[in-house]
């Protein structure tokens, strides 16, 4: 049915480039998705490049479906954490920032509980005696909770009378959260196994955090960023685990 349907008249400059042909629903959908993702270029860049770095040294090395899916979720959560630094400012963007914060927290919770439920021995790695990288990961996880809750108006106004003070605390804690999560990823040393991967990973974090002039500080449709993040995250986790576990 959709194949027969003629939708909107496309702008003439696009129509001319396509030889004046009429567009099917599917073609239009692809076109809109492409334009949409281009508008979200820094989100797409952040998620895909963080995952891409993990494939550089040993793309086929995996830890089994369950572990790779769980770790894929961890990488997506980390990308979301980085991307949160890109949205803010106007009231609309602040709302998008809040929503994405909840989504990132949700993905992090899934990453943590995925392992605790699926692997009965992992629990020993969240108890005294666990390696340092587990403690930095746990610290990052707890700080993410703190970051979100001190950002809620009822707590924020009680803790910080001045918005500027809140903002500097929020930013400082966010940097510590990223450092904790980053150390957890790097020091666990399975997906980032070579020094050049670690260097690229650190460079990537710096680019996303400080490379405003290249990636754009504010995005056009930040309201939708949570949905794009979820969709892209599911796709990336599937690719992350699939490449490592499907034998070609």
């Amino acid at each position: 049915m959709f194949q027969q349907l003629k939708l909107y008249r496309l702008p003439s400059w696009i129509s001319k480039r396509c030889g004046g042909k009429s567009w099917s629903f599917r073609e239009l959908l692809w076109w809109f998705m492409t334009v949409y993702l281009l508008q979200m270029k820094s989100l797409v860049f952040t998620i895909t490049s963080v995952l891409f770095v993990t494939f550089l040294a040993a793309p086929g090395l995996g830890a089994g479906w369950a572990w790779d899916i769980g770790n894929g979720m961890g990488f997506v959560a980390f990308s979301g954490l980085l991307y949160l630094s890109k949205i803010g400012g106007s009231a609309r963007n602040v709302r998008a920032h809040q929503l994405l914060g909840y989504v990132v927290l949700g993905v992090t919770v899934m990453h943590v509980y995925w392992f605790l439920v699926l692997d009965a021995a992992v629990i020993e790695y969240v108890k005294p005696g666990a390696p340092l990288y587990m403690w930095t990961g746990i610290a990052g996880f707890l700080m993410l909770f703190v970051l979100i809750f001190i950002g809620l108006p009822e707590y924020r106004l009680r803790l910080h009378k001045r918005y500027a003070l809140f903002k500097s605390w929020h930013l400082g804690l966010a940097l510590f959260t990223i450092m904790g999560a980053g150390h957890h990823i790097v020091a666990s040393g399975f997906y980032l196994r070579e020094p050049y991967q670690v260097a690229l990973f650190v460079l990537l974090v710096a680019i996303v955090l400080f490379g405003d002039s290249y990636l754009g500080k504010r995005e056009a449709e930040t309201r939708q960023s949570s949905w794009v993040f979820i969709g892209l995250g599911i796709f990336c986790v599937a690719v992350f685990a699939g490449i490592r576990n499907v034998r070609f």
Partner: protein, 116 residues
């Protein structure tokens, strides 16, 4: 909701009906350690000396654990030694596109079974 669930999970372990490894004093270890298993049958193609260095260097003639948990020099490195030995070999196999053992999944090795 999340906090009580987390506490329950930390105390009781996974709710899935699977075997739960329990830390205990094993092989006269000074501190409780997780059980470990090693499937010799899955490793018949390997050179015994890769793991049993004591066959070659006269450092003992007993099970791995008899020295690795009782010798005060190597005991602190028990986890590092065995993780590195097992996982590195499994990873190398996988990178060569061969059938390798577990590379990360803890529960695949930390269960009671055949002694290392």
């Amino acid at each position: 909701m999340l906090i009580p669930l987390s506490i329950a999970l930390l105390i009781l372990g996974t709710p899935l009906p699977v075997e739960h490894p329990v830390k205990r004093h094993q092989w006269q270890s000074p501190e409780p350690i997780l059980p470990m298993t090693f499937a010799h049958l899955d490793h018949v193609g390997e050179n015994c000396l890769v793991c049993h260095h004591n066959y070659n260097d006269d450092t003992g003639n007993l099970l791995c654990m008899n020295c690795h948990v009782t010798n005060s020099d190597v005991w602190p490195l028990l986890e590092t030694h065995f993780h590195d030995l097992c996982r590195d070999c499994h990873e190398d196999k996988q990178l060569l596109n061969e059938e390798g053992g577990p590379t990360r999944a803890c529960i695949d090795c930390h269960l009671d079974g055949e002694l290392p």
